[in-house]
């Protein structure tokens, strides 16, 4: 199944892209699973999305926990903790 990936702020700069369409490999069904899959690409992804990096995620524009399940067509965003206000 396909999902739309988005990256924001420092994470977007580190990865050098604001997002992509991605076909999820079988077995990747959650936000945490997707993060681990992306980290597995190595290079900038390993650095920017490693376990020690504090990241937040949103699914379909709602803040989502690592355990949130994904379905085809979802918009999944990863970003650093927010700093507005």
């Amino acid at each position: 199944m396909k999902v739309k990936l988005l990256f924001f702020a420092g994470l977007r700069e580190q990865l050098g892209t604001s997002g992509e369409e991605i076909e999820l490999p079988a077995g990747v069904t959650t936000v945490a699973g997707l993060r681990a899959h992306l980290r597995g690409r190595g290079g900038a992804y390993e650095l920017a999305m490693g376990d020690k990096k504090l990241l937040r995620a949103a699914v379909n524009q709602d803040m989502a926990a690592p355990t949130a399940r994904l379905k085809a067509g979802d918009e999944v965003a990863f970003f650093p903790p927010v700093t507005g206000g």
Binding site: L6, F8, A9, G10, L54, A58, Q61, D62, M63, A77, F79, P80, P81, V82, T83, G84, G85
Partner: protein, 149 residues
């Protein structure tokens, strides 16, 4: 209820005047956040930003007697002294207006998808989230209505 995410500046006085004219309103509390010391660029997540602020304002209206409310948050390039954000809450009494206004700001700081990049003399740097902001939002979870009159 008015929620706006915009590049342009805002005028607190006119926004307050534009709040509901219900004669049951007896108190309007407002807050303005201003850029301190360093110029910055504010990035946001179009679509999610407006939705998340609306949810926070609706949550405030569920907890306190909010009769109208306006939240404006700017994005783009901002200079020291520029206004960043404003919240204005109209209620029957000041207790609800103050509490709802503070609640909206505390939650906005940890839930609304904005990111500040400061342009320091040493170069640009992304502002790191502060634990104290999380704590400010967290206290409303454990003591809902603690600031009610």
């Amino acid at each position: 209820m008015k929620i706006s995410v915009q590049r342009e500046d805002f005028d607190l006085g006119s926004e307050v005047r534009d709040l509901s004219k219900s004669t049951r309103i007896g108190a309007i509390a407002s807050f303005v956040g201003v850029v301190r010391e360093v110029a910055m660029s504010l990035e946001h997540y179009p679509g999610m930003t407006e939705n998340s602020i609306r949810k926070i304002a609706e949550e405030a209206a569920a907890r306190w007697k909010v009769m109208d409310c306006t939240v404006i948050h700017r994005y783009g390039d901002l200079e020291p002294n520029d206004q960043i954000v404003m919240v204005a809450v109209a209620s029957a009494h000041r207790g609800d207006a103050f509490a709802a206004c503070e609640f909206i700001m505390d939650y906005l700081k940890t839930q609304a998808p904005f990111w500040k990049k400061e342009h320091t003399p040493a170069g640009p740097r992304w502002v790191e989230a502060r634990a104290s902001d999380d704590q400010a939002a967290e206290r409303w979870k454990f003591k809902p209505g603690a600031m009610k009159p």
